[in-house]
């Protein structure tokens, strides 16, 4: 996975920035756009890896991923936001400085000894792999932090993006059929998640998961 490091650097930078952006974003619409951007970065990363050993099925998979993640997902989100008028994402558990502190800790953690073996899987991409791991951890943090159902879905999808990015960087891509299977899986997951969100909205009147207490008593 040599590719030209410049493109990879750009994509990874976008990936991290968008994850941080997701943490800060207030409006649901912005979260959708940021997620689209992030998926674009990952797809382009995937395409750049494609350049060395070109295989048509992988190209089809790349197009498919592009279609699903970059086009379809944001579309669904914005449609959902419009239909239910969910302008603002529900609030978070921690205010901005605490989130920032959390992200810093995440960064330190990703770079620390725990993930060291993962980072030097491919010596050339040491920093990139650390960044991918940081993206993964921060998307999990996003899910913990956010109360809104929509932002939890975005958190899951960004976690998936960062895992795929890590795989591409570490040279662990799978054969085309499996890639296709994964994308198909993600798309079905997306459809179901969105319909569930509308179901949640219909039953609970709001997307704030912390308000959902009917299970308790």
């Amino acid at each position: 996975m040599t590719g030209d490091t410049g493109l990879i650097q750009a994509c990874i930078a976008i990936l991290c920035l968008t994850t941080v952006g997701l943490h800060v974003a207030r409006k649901n619409r912005n979260e959708a756009v940021l997620y689209g951007l992030q998926s674009l970065a990952v797809v382009s990363l995937f395409v750049s890896a494609l350049l060395e050993h070109y295989a048509t099925p992988l190209l089809i998979v790349a197009i498919l991923t592009f279609l699903v993640k970059v086009v379809l997902a944001p579309l669904f989100f914005t449609k959902l936001v419009k239909r239910h008028g969910l302008k603002f994402a529900a609030s978070t558990y921690t205010n901005v400085p605490e989130t920032a502190a959390g992200l810093v800790i995440i960064l330190i953690l990703a770079g620390s000894g725990i993930f060291a073996p993962l980072a030097n899987l491919v010596p050339g991409h040491h920093t990139f792999l650390v960044m991918a791991i940081a993206a993964m951890l921060s998307s999990m943090l996003l899910m913990i932090n956010r109360k809104g159902a929509l932002s939890q879905i975005v958190g899951v999808l960004s976690l998936e993006n960062s895992i795929v990015a890590f795989a591409v960087l570490a040279g662990l891509e799978q054969s085309a059929i499996l890639q296709a299977g994964i994308v198909f899986d993600v798309s079905v997951w997306l459809v179901i998640a969105v319909s569930m969100v509308s179901l949640v909205f219909r039953h609970h009147g709001s997307l704030d998961t912390s308000k959902m207490k009917s299970l308790r008593h």
């Binding site: 725990i114 956010r146 939890q152 308790r216």
Partner: protein, 690 residues
């Protein structure tokens, strides 16, 4: 034995004999289920098979003793290598089979009449099924020779007895009693499971002979752990003091002929396993084992009788007495363990014979007492002693049998109770004289507790008989009580005769038990301090403390009859005997003036009040209309704070409740927290693991 006679016994004392014994009870159980639609048929089927089975059991045990055979049987099962259905009947197991069959025989006869009370209310088929399974479970426990098979039989016995305890499920107290009972027995079984697992790990075998062969491989710490765990597990089943709380509520809840079996025989299976484990399998026990068992026995006997004195529920009173008698058996067993640690084999044989003899005696007189209590309860439909009174004239047979049972349990001479307690005393005195250092003082304490227990037991049964059978009936139910049926009376009569017969035949029975204890402890060559001269007298020690069953009975009878004849006919033969009302300082005597059970035990409870912590409640009922000072009625009731319940079990239950509420709180439903759990798990495990 004569030539042709012996081969008949050889035929019986064989695996075939054992299989027929177990299959008769199995058939009885399954048959009862099949015919459960018709109450009469089910009742008859259960009783018939149970009686047949117990007869065969007695015959089988007898033939084992006669032919000195050791029946062994082993069937491997497919699923696990260690688990095999291994049965082995030596003299110890045969003795326990005999005890189980003897009590089961009379209880089943009694059961025919008693079960009629449950017709059309509950399914007699279920009663029959669990009754036979219960006896089958006990027989399997005493004959099992493989650790796992033993645990299996142990739990079948507990399960069957659980369903019998909750048989009358309309009464909420029975259900609660069953709940506490099954939990404690299961926790006990888990302790046994852990002990056997430890043994399995070192000896790589479950069969008792395999464990016994490799016992040296087990390090001392593990052996001590196994002892602690098995004493805990078996102690729960035997009902020793700190682990006894299930017994006073569970035994009375079951139908009377079942509680007789439970009190008389089931708690003995705990004793059987203690003997098998501590003396037979785990080789020479260290000294502190014996001291622990002895002190547990002493505490159990004393505390058991004290709690019995405070009871005014007839069956709970008898249940507490089971705890007391188990304590006495443990005194014998404990001293046997100490003597084997001090390498004094002749005293080991004496102590073990005392323990086994008291097991047999307790089985007979306790089941007699429970059966007669059962017919009293069936006649008066209540278990509260305060409601009885004057039943000796209405239920003469039951009264007599209860009297015989009480004399036997208070160790009064002509009956069997005295001889086993006498042997236990001799063992303890031997211990005081011969044991060294600290063990001596434990023996002194044990002797003190046994002496005090004897007296208090007598006090308790005078209270029980006096309040139940003497003077005038204190309630309408008692006034209209009717004598129980023929089968119930025969059941009780048989046990009463057994008590007397064993008392008279104390010497030969003890010689038999000596052979059993010789075989268990492997001290066959040693002369015991206890030897039986002629067929009548028991002689202990070189200076010969002599006691003889038939002689005492004969002398007592002779003297009483002579005195009666002398006074009746020798002097003033024309004496007129009139009956008149009891003199009570001129006031008209009503039945409320008799002493009640609570009143009777009031003085004893005041003496031991620092332990029993009695609290008196005065309920005063005033006339509504006229002046409030005119009291209509005043009832004084006394409650005893069950120290063990209040200081150990209730706080434990609250602790579990508190911990479980905090565990349940984890599932509070907040999604972010759930994801935080996973995130934290990943980070922690990575930090630790990698």
């Amino acid at each position: 034995m004569k030539e042709n006679g012996s081969n008949m016994f050889d035929a019986i004392a064989s695996p075939a004999g054992l299989i027929t014994l177990l299959s008769v009870f199995g058939l009885g159980a399954l048959g009862a289920l099949v015919v459960r639609a018709f109450d009469h048929v089910a009742n008859f089927w259960t009783a018939a098979f149970a009686i047949l089975g117990s007869l065969w059991g007695m015959l089988f045990a007898g033939s084992i003793f006669v032919t000195h055979h050791e029946v062994a049987m082993k069937v491997a099962t497919s699923s696990f290598s260690g688990f095999s259905v291994a049965m082995h009947v030596d003299k110890l197991a045969a003795f326990f089979i005999f005890v189980i069959s003897l009590v089961a025989f009379f209880c089943s006869i009694y059961g025919i009449g008693y079960a009629k009370e449950y017709y059309k209310r509950f399914s007699i088929g279920a009663l029959g099924f669990f009754y036979n399974m219960f006896i089958l479970g006990m027989l399997l426990v005493v004959t099992s020779f493989n650790g796992l098979w033993f645990l299996l039989a142990w739990e079948i016995m507990s399960l069957a007895s659980y369903f019998l305890v909750v048989y009358d499920r309309t009464d909420r107290k029975n259900v609660k009693a069953g709940y506490v009972y099954l939990i404690m027995t299961h926790v006990g079984a888990l302790a046994l499971l852990l002990a056997l697992a430890l043994l399995y790990h070192y000896t790589h075998s479950f069969d008792f002979d395999g464990i016994k062969a490799h016992i040296a491989a087990v390090p001392h710490l593990a052996l001590a752990a196994v002892f602690g765990l098995s004493l805990f597990g078996l102690g729960i089943k035997a009902g020793v003091i700190p682990l006894h709380i299930w017994l006073p509520s569970a035994h009375p809840a079951a139908p009377s002929h079942v509680s007789a079996l439970m009190s008389g025989v089931m708690i003995k299976t705990g004793i059987y396993m203690m003997i098998r484990l501590f003396l037979d399998i785990m080789g020479p026990a260290p000294l502190w084992w014996g001291i622990v068992v002895l002190s547990v026995g002493a505490v159990s006997s004393l505390v058991g009788v004290l709690f019995a004195l405070t009871e005014h529920d007839l069956k709970r009173l008898l249940a507490y007495h089971s705890i007391e008698n188990i304590g006495i058996i443990l005194l014998g067993l404990g001293s046997a363990l100490i003597f084997s640690a001090l390498h004094r084999p002749e005293l080991v044989l004496l102590a073990l014979a005392a323990a086994l003899f008291h097991t047999l005696n307790h089985a007979t007189f306790k089941s007699l007492l429970f059966l007669s209590a059962g017919s009293v309860i069936q006649a008066t439909h209540t278990r509260n002693i305060e409601k009885y009174g004057g039943l000796m004239k209405l239920l003469p047979a039951t009264g007599l049998f209860f009297l015989v049972g009480s004399m036997a349990i208070s160790a009064l001479p002509p009956f069997n109770g005295f001889f086993s307690e006498w042997l236990t005393f001799q063992a303890l005195f031997g211990g005081i004289a011969h044991a060294g250092g600290s063990a001596q003082w434990v023996f002194v304490a044990a002797a003190a507790s046994l002496a005090l227990t004897g007296g208090l037991a007598l006090a308790c049964f005078v209270k029980a008989i006096g309040a139940t059978f003497l003077a005038r009936p204190r309630s309408s139910a008692a006034r209209h009580a009717k004598e129980s049926g023929f089968s119930m009376k025969t059941g009780m009569a048989g046990l009463a005769i057994a008590c007397l017969a064993i008392g008279l035949a104390a010497a030969p029975v003890t010689r038999l038990l000596q052979t059993v204890s010789r075989e268990v402890t492997g001290l066959s060559g040693v002369a015991s301090t206890l030897h039986v001269s002629g067929s009548r007298t028991l002689v202990v020690g070189d200076h010969g403390a002599v006691v003889s069953g038939p002689a005492v009975a004969l002398l007592l009878l002779l003297v009483v009859v002579l005195v009666w004849a002398g006074v009746r006919y020798g002097v003033y033969r024309r004496q007129k005997v009139m009956t008149g009302p009891t003199w009570d300082c001129g006031t008209d005597l009503n039945e409320r003036m008799e002493i009640t059970a609570t009143g009777f035990s009031q003085s004893i409870i005041r003496v031991f009040k620092s332990f029993l912590l009695p609290t008196l409640h005065h309920a005063v009922e005033r006339h509504e209309d006229e002046n409030p000072y005119q009291i209509k009625s005043r009832t004084v009731s006394m409650q005893i704070r069950d120290m063990y319940q209040a200081s150990i079990y209730r706080p434990l239950y609250r602790l579990i409740g508190m911990m479980s509420r905090s565990a349940e709180w984890i599932h509070h439903g907040n999604l972010s927290a759930y994801i935080l759990y996973i995130f934290a798990a990943i980070i922690i495990v990575l930090a630790v693991g990698a």
